[in-house]
């Protein structure tokens, strides 16, 4: 199978993301990369747990003062839904439905951008209302590094998906770009899973105290 | 030719190892233990060495046989052997057994050395010393006796002495090799351990043990030696009393020393105390306490204890301990001023 050959619904393989050697390699390579990223985030979580609430003096706010459930809940719902929309996008990709895939990818990007917007608003709130900044304490450094790093991953993912959408908008699906969409969606699921842990360990555990 | 060389090499190593394990100075060598902790550690060293030498001998034996018997003689292809289940089991289980033999005393000793319960007991008679490491000097506070000294630790023999270890700037490590292993002084927390100084062996070592900093802390890490004077309980109590008797700065004995005291009181006293009472919080103790400076065996922990070297040190501390915290803290002194100051400092004694 040549990667650029024009396909039809009938000739399109069941698993387009791993039908060539290159795509099999990309598929496995990316899963392994995610393994490494898992260890990376695990390390950031461990650091956060060690430095949670470690502030230089009592004038500084602790986790239980900072975090609020409503905002965090909305952000979580946005990101979780965006993961769902990316699942639909992949379903359509496997069914050779290019336009539908693009539609659901677009929704994914919108939801992800909304999540990011909320997070920017949230950080702004902490900085101005509570003077909880990256440099104000070890707790601050750890919080913004962990959550900010995740946010940076979200931003990168949005750029990635958008670039793929724009670059391939006129091409339709083929065995060269299908693995690219798939790998980007894997990445998107990964950062969603990381968010579930952040939500639990940072926000929920933080609010409980 | 190579065969002979190998035999020579092996026997050379063996003899060397035997000789070298007897060497080392008794005041600084871990191979000449002078206390309970160093004894336990030396025992572990001997046990592990004994087991490991056994392993080495077995390996060497097989090795030498291979070298002699199986070198290529002809072009025959040898029998391709897949392996041996029996051998695999042997060389898996025997090492496991050997490690168990080593692991049990290791774990026991580790817990023993960490037993500092005595420190937390309310009416404990145990001696507790707070060690605070600095760039590049050591501070020793005796909270029970309410005295502070620096650079030279004074301890009683034949009893457990407990230590609270912390650093006031960067990580250092407190080590008296002949008496026991080290424990790091961290900036974050207080570490606790105990040491015991054997009377007989302290006497054999000249009653002066060498202490070392054992964690890279900056340019003068190599020059952060401290000393430990180990003496009988009676003599120790006498020393403590002498120190406690110094309730205010001792008056200089000669005119020259009095001049020195003037100079000292104008600038040095800002950081260096000459009374042992520990009313200052530890964060305010910026420089070694000099109450009994005249009794010490080194200047700045490393130079010979005489007037010449003392003047050299004060005149230009940076050449002796690059990166030290005293450099640049005072104006240059003339040779006459240095002479007077040194006279004063050398006279700061609590013992005759």
């Amino acid at each position: 199978m040549h990667v650029e050959e024009k396909m039809t619904y009938e000739t399109w393989p069941a698993a387009p993301e791993k039908s060539t050697l290159e795509s099999k390699n990309k598929f496995l390579g990316f899963w392994l990369f995610l393994g490494g990223e898992t260890v990376l985030f695990a390390t950031l979580f461990a650091t956060y747990l060690a430095l949670k609430d470690k502030v230089p003096n009592t004038s500084q706010h602790l986790a239980k003062d900072l975090f609020e459930l409503p905002l965090t809940f909305v952000a979580t719902m946005l990101l979780l839904t965006s993961s769902l929309t990316s699942v639909y996008a992949m379903y359509h990709m496997k069914n050779f439905a290019f336009k539908k895939m693009m539609l659901w990818l677009g929704l994914t990007v919108l939801l992800g951008a909304a999540f990011l917007g909320l997070e920017v608003y949230e950080f702004n709130h902490y900085v101005h209302k509570f003077h909880h900044t990256f440099t104000s304490s070890a707790f601050g450094s750890a919080f913004y590094t962990l959550v900010g790093f995740h946010g940076a991953h979200v931003a990168f993912g949005l750029c990635w998906i958008l670039t793929l959408m724009i670059r391939n908008s006129k091409r339709g699906l083929n065995l060269y770009n299908a693995p690219k969409f798939y790998v980007a969606s894997l990445y998107w699921h990964f950062i969603d899973v990381v968010w579930v842990f952040i939500f639990t360990v940072v926000y929920l555990m933080g609010m409980v105290g | 030719m190579k065969r002979l060389a190998k035999w020579r090499l092996i026997s050379l190593f063996a003899i060397l190892a035997l000789i070298l394990s007897g060497c080392g100075k008794p005041f600084v060598s871990a191979l000449k233990p002078a206390g309970e902790v160093a004894d336990m550690q030396y025992d572990l060293m001997k046990l592990s060495t004994f087991i490991m030498v056994g392993v080495i001998l077995v390996v060497l034996l097989i090795f030498v046989i291979i070298f002699v018997r199986f070198r290529r003689k002809d072009d025959k292809i040898p029998k391709q052997v897949e392996g041996s289940h029996k051998l695999e089991i042997i060389w898996t289980t025997i090492p496991i057994l050997l490690l168990l033999i080593l692991a049990v005393p290791t774990v026991a000793t580790t817990f023993n050395l960490a037993d500092v319960k005595e420190m937390d007991k309310k009416d404990s008679k145990a001696l507790v010393i707070n060690v605070r490491s600095h760039l590049y000097w050591w501070d020793f506070e005796y909270p029970g006796q309410k005295i502070v000294t620096s650079q030279e630790l004074v301890v009683p023999t034949d009893e457990k002495v407990y230590f609270n270890l912390k650093s006031m700037d960067v990580k250092h490590s407190f080590w008296i090799p002949a008496v026991g292993g080290k424990l790091d002084t961290n900036t974050d927390n207080i570490n606790k351990f105990w040491l015991e100084f054997d009377d007989k062996r302290s006497n054999e070592a000249g009653n002066l043990f060498y202490g070392k900093c054992a964690e890279l802390c900056g340019p003068s890490h190599a020059l952060m030696d401290f000393k430990v004077k180990a003496m009988s309980r009676d003599k120790f109590d006498a020393w403590v009393s002498s120190m406690q008797d110094v309730k205010e700065p001792q008056k200089a004995q000669t005119d020259l020393a009095a001049q020195g005291q003037d100079i000292f009181n104008k600038s040095c006293i800002g950081c260096h105390a000459v009374t042992p009472a520990n009313k200052m919080p530890e964060t305010a103790r910026l420089a070694p306490n000099l109450t009994n400076f005249g009794d010490r065996s080194r200047v700045a922990g490393i130079l010979d204890h005489n007037k010449e070297e003392l003047k050299n040190w004060i005149k230009n501390p940076e050449t002796y301990k690059p990166g030290n915290q005293m450099t640049g803290k005072y104006q240059d002194l003339t040779d006459a001023q240095l002479d007077a100051l040194a006279e004063y400092l050398m006279g700061l004694k609590v013992q005759e």
Binding site: L28, G29, G35, G36, L40, T47, L51, P56, F134, A138, F139, T145 | G24, K25, V28, S29, Q41, L44, M45, T49, I51, M52, I56, V59, L60, I62, F70, R72, P78, K79, V81, E82, G83, S84, P95, L99, T106, V107, T109, T110, F111, N112, L165, D169, V170, G181, K182, D184, N186, T187, D188, N189, A214, L216, G218, H221, A222, L223, P322, G323
Partner: protein, 620 residues
């Protein structure tokens, strides 16, 4: 792209190497760069030993000495040992599994250039002040260190480390997905197995280092407080992060070394590896256990007796699979027909040296005794015994073993043996006595020692050994130059007893490696065919078009961008006007190049069947 050999000018050759994605050429790049850094690290070692030859020496100042020891350790581990091992893994592993290249040739090149630029960046620190907090760069000292030395360390290693991580993933996917037909996992050569396990370790060990370096960078350059105790920070976190990386790192170094020796013992004894399955099992077990023991570097930090006891026992456990390996190597030779070539000299020298290093390893594992050994010359002796006696001897051995496969010539055997003896004797002279120096009370990382404490004679002996090692290395350099000048070509199996697939193809191989992928019938695939009287491997596929990747300058650009950005990041803390623009420019170069790579299609090219039929295996 024709397969016919072309005469190349210097410029064309340079461009070829700057843009190559061929694993064999990348291997040569790693060998050269790693070799240069090894020489630099060696020079640093010589300076250390000159300074410590006599008490109270002033050959270098205290501050300079701390920079030298830091750079010696950092350079040797990150910029010499790892890249040199990567050179051999790149050169040989794809050939051993019957593949035409690695899974991601572009990323392979990127991995190299990231390592290279990271290493150059770190060494530029010599001009303004090198890092001086040891290769372990503990937090309190690092934050205290003036100047930009530590920043060079943090940023240089970050860039280099990314390269290593990419390389690790690459090797893993290659081994999992691209083995030739018939090459099951249990038919892979041990060197490939050790590459596999080491690569898995890289994948899991480098992220904690990445995090640690990032946190240190944030503290030093961007005002964070991870390690600042006065702001709630914690310096022991750095120790944990560093050693969670650092301990697996040394197993990442030693496992490929073990793999190299497995090949050598087997090849030069004319006998298959004894206990192959046990060897595979032991390799995997060492890889796994390697992640469970990091706190044995922190026995004196004050973690408490429970932690110390657990880590002590776990550490001792690693001795078991390692011992299994030693015995299996010995029994590979037992009953064999052993030829003492230069690689075999190194293998033979490795056994006693590494066993000594291993047993002192068990000694330092006994936590309570380690309170005496830690941070003294005893530990310095231990790790040099395992790293020099294990990794360096393996690298020198592999250089001889696989030189013909990489360059088509053979290094001189006599000169090789001379190098071995000088290096081996010098190594023992330098490091054996250091065990005793540590026990006699000499701490490590000291720029000098005082007279009258019993350290004088031993230090002098130790320094003399360094001279011997230097001579050995110089003889090796001479060997390399003479061999290159004489340029006497050899065939595909110059050692005559090759067992594995790399020996079944020309030296050096054509750029596509195998005209037709080979059919593997068992372990030691090539040996099997030889014993059946065949000249070469049976092909597993008909002759057909071969799909090959295109060269690219983009990996160089991506790495260059990070190199530039690092300068900006580092100097922005000095509030100079150009720092932020430079950092942004560098990042734009990097991300811009990544963007170009993403949007520009690259399908590679095909070598047509007809060209292969004419081609007798010439290089492109």
């Amino acid at each position: 792209m024709s397969t016919i050999a072309q005469k190349k000018g210097f410029g064309a050759t340079l461009w070829d190497f700057l843009t190559t994605v061929d694993h064999k050429k990348i291997a040569i790049l790693y060998l050269i760069a790693g070799g240069i850094f090894f020489l630099m690290g060696g020079l640093e070692a010589v300076f250390i030993r000159i300074q410590l030859a006599v008490p109270n020496n002033d050959f270098v100042s205290a501050g300079a000495f701390n920079e030298i020891i830091t750079m010696h350790g950092t350079t040797m581990i990150f910029l010499a040992a790892m890249p040199l091992l990567f050179a051999f893994m790149n050169a040989v592993m794809p050939l051993q599994i019957g593949a035409r290249d690695v899974a991601f040739p572009f990323l392979n090149s990127l991995g190299f250039w990231l390592f290279f630029f990271g290493g150059v960046f770190l060494n530029l620190s010599w001009f303004t002040g090198a890092p001086d907090a040891g290769w372990t760069s503990y937090a309190s000292l690092s934050l205290h260190s003036k100047g930009h030395g530590i920043d060079f360390y943090v940023l240089g290693l970050q860039i280099s480390g990314l390269g290593t991580l990419i390389g690790g993933i690459n090797f893993l996917v290659t081994i999992i997905n691209m083995r030739a037909p018939g090459m099951t996992y249990m038919r892979m050569p041990l060197f490939t197995w050790s590459t596999f396990v080491a690569s898995a370790m890289i994948l899991f060990a480098f992220p904690p280092l990445t995090v640690g370096l990032t946190l240190m960078m944030f503290d030093r350059l961007f005002g964070a407080n991870f390690f600042d105790v006065t702001m709630g920070g914690n310096t022991v976190i750095w120790e944990h992060l560093f050693w969670i990386f650092g301990h697996p790192e040394v197993y990442i170094l030693i496992l490929p070394a073990f793999g190299i020796f497995s090949e050598i013992f087997s090849l030069f004894s004319r006998k298959r590896l004894f206990g192959y399955s046990s060897m595979v099992f032991a390799t995997v077990l060492i890889g796994f256990l390697g992640f469970m023991v990091w706190a044995h570097h922190m026995f004196t930090t004050g973690l408490g007796p429970v932690a110390n006891a657990i880590f002590a026992v776990a550490t001792m456990a690693i001795g078991v699979p390692t011992g299994i390996k030693i015995f299996n190597w010995l029994f590979t030779m037992w009953g064999g027909s052993v030829k003492f070539t230069t690689p075999m000299y190194y293998a033979f020298g490795f056994i006693p040296s590494f066993v000594m290093g291993g047993v002192t390893g068990v000694m330092v594992a006994t936590a309570a005794a380690d309170y005496q050994y830690h941070d003294t010359y005893f530990v310095v002796a231990h790790f040099h015994y395992v790293i020099v006696g294990g990794v360096v001897l393996a690298i020198l051995a592999a250089t001889h073993l696989w030189w013909p496969k990489m360059f088509g010539t053979m290094l001189n055997e006599t000169l090789g043996k001379i190098t071995f003896w000088f290096f081996f004797i010098g190594f023992h002279l330098t490091f054996f006595i250091q065990h005793f120096l540590g026990l006699w009370g000499m701490p490590r990382r000291v720029f000098t020692f005082l007279p009258g404490q019993g350290f004088d004679a031993a230090n002098m002996i130790s320094s003399v050994g360094a001279a011997f090692m230097s001579i050995g290395v110089l003889v090796l350099l001479y060997n390399v130059i003479m061999t290159s000048v004489k340029n006497v070509k050899v065939g595909n199996d110059p050692w005559e007893d090759g067992r594995t697939l790399e020996w079944s193809i020309p030296s050096p191989p054509p750029f596509y490696n195998f005209k037709q992928l080979p059919l593997v019938r068992g372990l030691d695939a090539y040996w099997l065919e030889k014993m059946d009287g065949k000249k070469g491997m049976t092909p597993a596929e008909p002759l057909g078009d071969i799909h090959m990747p295109n060269s690219s300058f983009i990996p160089f650009m991506i790495s260059l961008g990070l190199f530039i950005a690092a300068f900006g990041a580092m100097y922005h803390v000095d509030k100079v006007a150009w720092a932020l623009p430079v950092m942004i420019f560098g990042l734009l170069v990097t991300f811009g190049s990544m963007f170009v790579r993403s949007v520009k299609d690259d399908h590679g090219f095909h070598i047509h069947k007809e060209e292969l039929q004419e081609d007798k295996g010439a290089k492109a």
